[in-house]
Subunit: 434 residues, 4 copies
């Protein structure tokens, strides 16, 4: 599910109760999250909001409106008496995939609409924000409103990341090479790869119940894992270059059958946004095009490429259960959206937080786990039940978070997911072995 991955809060379940501090005041957090979305738009020209570079990507304008529609549809209409929707057609235009809410404008044609204008969409945001503020101030005691508001804020944070990845895709194909924001260029040297061994045994997986979690992180349950070892850091460009130089993209024996077919059809010879010019590798970032830094984590690889790289290196991708158990209790530090770098960073000295580094931020980490429900998984009733469950097929789980993920959106049990051929997210990997 490329556009709006995650899931719904278990508002009716005890123990998943919005009780920590930030959630106790969704009104404060509402302003913060919503204004971050608009802050991300500051460098844009009006024209940049309109275009859609592939069916998987959406116009910025659509993200701005869709996240607003979410609050209107799931909070204001059911809970604010007398609320009048901003425009009768917006539900049709800005519903993403909720069949229970009704028909919708086709996803692949979002870039065909010049109206509403960007100005009108910001007017829509303002209108909904005013009503949300009023509602949150007046009815702060209702747990349903709070729960749905917190869900809407998490939903908006996901779209903050998607706005950046979709925008990157659209700007990168333009021969004029537009820059979103000039880059911060980091120094750093990729440390040697270490191995952290984990012994076989029973353990727990899933959200423990305090603070917000999507429904797909529940129920918490026991699993038995065989012993394994996990790489101490992410795979880096230097290593991926060795894979390329060793013919990695030309040896079908390294690839899954489906992956090889995709690689052939799309003529992949390197990660997305890489190009070779006069013998040197360049990459296009949100800060423009520049030389590839071999010490940065490899990014914009599909599951197929991550899997082939792992096989080539004599390893494999970890399962999501292995990752969750190995990192439990570790630090959530990392390079997130708030750093405003919008590109993964090399490891630097003070990143070194123990044996396992780069656990969050920088790039999402592909796992070997197909995205399915946990044992006993139950989606919510109604339209919000479409948030996560219906995508549990033909996708793979990613763990961690990226340089475009808001810090408050990351957590150990978080399950991101994308189809195995997706490359336009900030996606990388960490290897494991038996």
């Amino acid at each position: 599910m490329p556009l709006t991955p995650p899931a719904l809060p278990q508002v009716s379940r005890t123990g998943n109760g919005w009780t920590d501090e930030s959630d106790a005041e969704p009104g404060l957090r509402y302003v913060d999250v919503r204004s971050w979305t608009e802050k991300l738009c500051q460098p844009l020209e009006t024209e940049d909001y309109v275009i859609q570079s592939t069916p998987d990507c959406s116009p910025v304008k659509w993200h701005l409106a869709h996240t607003t529609w979410f609050f209107e549809t799931f909070v204001l209409i059911p809970y604010l008496p007398g609320y009048r929707p901003f425009h009768p057609e917006y539900c049709y235009l800005f519903n993403s995939y909720y069949n229970a809410v009704g028909p919708r404008w086709p996803r692949s044609q979002r870039g065909l609409l010049s109206r509403p204008t960007v100005g009108e969409v910001f007017g829509y945001r303002k209108y909904v924000d005013e009503h949300m503020t009023r509602l949150l101030q007046a009815r702060r005691s209702s747990p349903d409103i709070a729960a749905r508001t917190v869900l809407g804020l998490n939903h908006e944070q996901q779209h903050q990341e998607l706005m950046l990845t979709d925008l990157k895709h659209a700007l990168a194909l333009n021969p004029l090479r537009p820059v979103y924001r000039p880059s911060v260029l980091d120094q750093g040297q990729c440390p040697n790869l270490g191995w952290i061994a984990v012994a076989a045994g029973l353990g727990w997986v899933g959200h423990p119940g305090k603070g917000f979690a999507y429904d797909n992180e529940l129920p918490r349950h026991q699993v038995y894992l065989q012993g394994f070892a996990l790489a101490s850091r992410l795979a880096h460009n230097r290593e991926f270059l060795a894979f390329i130089d060793d013919g990695g993209y030309d040896r079908p024996a390294l690839w899954l059958s489906d992956g090889w077919a995709v690689r052939q059809e799309r003529a992949w010879t390197a990660p997305l946004y890489w190009e070779k010019q006069d013998g040197a590798w360049l990459i296009t970032t949100l800060g423009g095009r520049r030389a590839l830094n071999p010490d940065e984590p490899v990014c914009h690889v599909s599951y197929y490429e991550a899997d082939a790289f792992a096989r080539w290196s004599g390893c494999r991708l970890p399962t999501e259960q292995e990752l969750e158990m190995a990192v439990a209790g570790g630090s959530l530090a990392g390079h997130f959206l708030e750093a405003e770098r919008y590109h993964p960073a090399p490891v630097v000295a003070d990143d070194d937080r123990g044996p396992l580094s780069q656990l969050y931020g920088d790039v999402w980490q592909w796992t070997a786990s197909p995205y399915v429900g946990y044992p006993g998984y139950q989606p919510a009733v109604g339209a919000l039940g479409e948030y996560n469950g219906k995508f549990m097929c033909n996708q793979f789980v990613l763990r961690g978070a990226s340089c475009a993920t808001p810090r408050s959106h990351a957590r150990t049990t978080y399950r991101n997911f994308f189809p195995p051929d997706a490359r336009w997210q900030f996606t990388g990997l960490r290897v494991a072995r038996d």
Copy 2:
């Protein structure tokens, strides 16, 4: 050839020499034509310039830049010493189909580019206009410059029409039903159909050589025509409704084989922009959606529909030679772009200019003639030779002019052409019979 139909002036041929008054001063006409293009943009929002609703249509922004690129490439660069192109990438971005000029951005992806911005494109126009003005004032004596400038102005007039038809397509699909300009609604009553008989014999076809003409209107040559009769006016909606009500869209015997396949595949049941609601026919115009007026000429039909309608009515479409001979010497009066109606009008009393009415303006008239070169046709040498000749395959000739054609662009020998499945132009028909 959907985007920039016509062709190149025979600048090197005696007798096609830019000698009439308007051409003697291309500088005056330059300002007039160029400012009309910008006048057409006045009702637009920035977002409207960016989108591309189908591969056949182009963004308004692209039309603005491409017509400018034409002057830059074919006039300023070869004839203005020291001229510096506005931007090194614009030749790649705004070349339409001239292989001799070099590679180009794919036509179907013109709507993926947010940059250059609309403001930058207007800056490009200003820059080129200033240099063109300087050149035309300084070197008015050069016949080559004058000829290419006149060609560029005719080219720009074609794009004025395309801007409107492409924009109409993009606005019409938007569920918000945006209006380009509020409509003028005309009254009128469709007169009975009369027949004008033309006897068999030899006649002349092709441009006689005074004033501008595209190369595809040359050479003037003799043809022998069998006797035929031509309808006194265009086919009107009332008649087309009878075709629909008689099952015209469901009877393969009325259709060409290719046409029937297209009708099935695209599920056509009426002309483009028609829809039936609660038993009544509505149409979408540049002035918004309104009830269908049965007294207006039928518009937005493909060649296939025009041909099927003609067969259903016991007639046929005329050939282009029949039309050219029948109308020779007739009045060029009609409803053109300058009327700012942007929709075909019903016949009114003072339209009645003799036995044949509605010869120009309102809608282009499909003919039964595949678009091929006249006997002895020679395209120009070099890139401008790509203007017309290479499209002489799988298209049909249209004659007359439409409500979106500038008045000064219409003439008796003019050959417009589109593929037989094209419907987004202002295209209608007039029947003929043996």
Copy 3:
């Protein structure tokens, strides 16, 4: 119209009345034509009858049944009292494109049917032949039966040619390189190209009315042609190799816009069935693969290639009117189906029959004429009216005949037609110039 090109006899018109000797006894000719079809099958394995290599081609089994269905549907059912169709589903399976006859099995899926078996199809032929023989013996005086029988025989002759071209396509793609029949290899040397000048003036085009003709050859009518010159012989491989060596397939300026797009998309670099191996050109024929003979007429080129070649050589393709007038009264001699060579032959001494040679047989000659109806053209009423008229769009006329055309099927006014990208027929060209 790839599968069953031509058209219907004007049985109801005086002057087109089956009066010559062969037509006076359709019974004799029936046996002859039908048995030729079966003779062509002698070299085949059962498996060869079943396959369909592209949607344009049909299985041999289908041709055998479809030509039989034609007699059953258009002769036996209407004219033989008490006739019982061989099988109730065969009309659905073996109707090619007659909408008026009813629905039909999709053309592109003819190769998915293992049943009826080849044996059953021959049984079908036998059953219909017996009834046809009975009918023709009993009712020889009915002009309608005779006319439809003659039409059916001409139809079957067209399918004899299609059987061979479709079979060639299917065998040629098989890596085992199956041979239909061992080749006769001819010697010969291509004579120099001469030019035959024709003066401007009025002339007649169309079938004069004695003997069989398809409806698309009528009415005979006057045309005025400008003066032109016609090549004395076909274009040969030696000339086409020079075109290739001169970059003909890599210079868009030589091609129609649509042709260039097709050439790019399908990666054409030579005619169909040509391949270069170790610097030498090989071709695959019905007799197997062998070295290209530069003295043979070029074959298996599309209209686009023929047109580009003609432009490259400073000439053009002739129109069908030019060819018909130039060859009127000339000899019908040539290499036809009955020679059982199944490949165009080099010119040899006794082929030299005056200034214009190779007018018939060897290869069909692409003309510059889009396929449209003659002035006053009227298709027949009813299902047989679908034979020709509905294909008058997006195709080009070919004149002459090929090495796979039965000799009795060729005539001066014959109009074959195919889409401009078709290459699997025996198609070549002759150049002309103004």
Copy 4:
């Protein structure tokens, strides 16, 4: 991996050593398995061997040759000194997907080849059988030869099933409704659904090591399962009809997102081979078309339909681990290929073998488990390593066996797998719940 699902024997691992009785004499089993393949061909016409109805299906002729190629490539060439391959091109034509063996004829075009003929393919089988017999008699002591022979026999058994399912697909689309073999019609009454509860706890999954197993059944490993309950029998047509009647195919809330998209695109309204006529459901079987028996297990459903049906019934699909643990030690009885029924049967009295019935035979059972490698999974080295591992993506595991599976091919740990949209196998389901 639709065409040749399973996997490779662990010939180099101790404990997986071809030691049981049947394997000790692969020569005897060789004759038995190979002759069963040919026995399945007895009802066929020559034409039936040639056709390919979809890219997923292969011609019978191809199956006959491919299974033979397997022995030639993996046994005779490496182990029989002086062996000469039957034909130099057969390796290109009959390699299915082994990149390490070399290039191959495209899968989707297997139905375009009329040669080799059926007779030649049987000649190929005979030639290889003679050499295999000689090898097996002479070198019975070599464990590698024995292991690869046993693998080849299991491979051939898989293709026996695929021959039947592919043939069924091809015959079923033919309007002549050909019958493979007249049906045996069974009586029986579907018993009420019971539930077998399994408590949470650690258990073992994977092949224990005695007798043949594919590599994907290894290594045997511990898993921790939550408690669950399993249906006592398969889902039956009566239940599936209730799902249909309750709007199951029209309620997106019941479907996975991908599944709903497929259902819409392909317009599914019932399982494959079902059609409603005059209010009654008919099904097409290898025995022809007949009324649907509501007491038969539902068959020819995709994973998407199985999943939607399970959700509709308030249950879910079991995981493969749940199924393997629940059935461990149960009877392998069921309706297999040898019963020559080729259609799932209703439960009859003597089928009732304890609380869990219909565990094997009749239909494969979709599980909720994406097909991935077991912890510690290692594919074999070399070409045979491509047998299973490279398909571990975007497919789902099926357990049990079907009415087209040879009895000796079924076992408790067997992992069949197909993409979630596949319907042409004999696929059904059994529900589970937490």
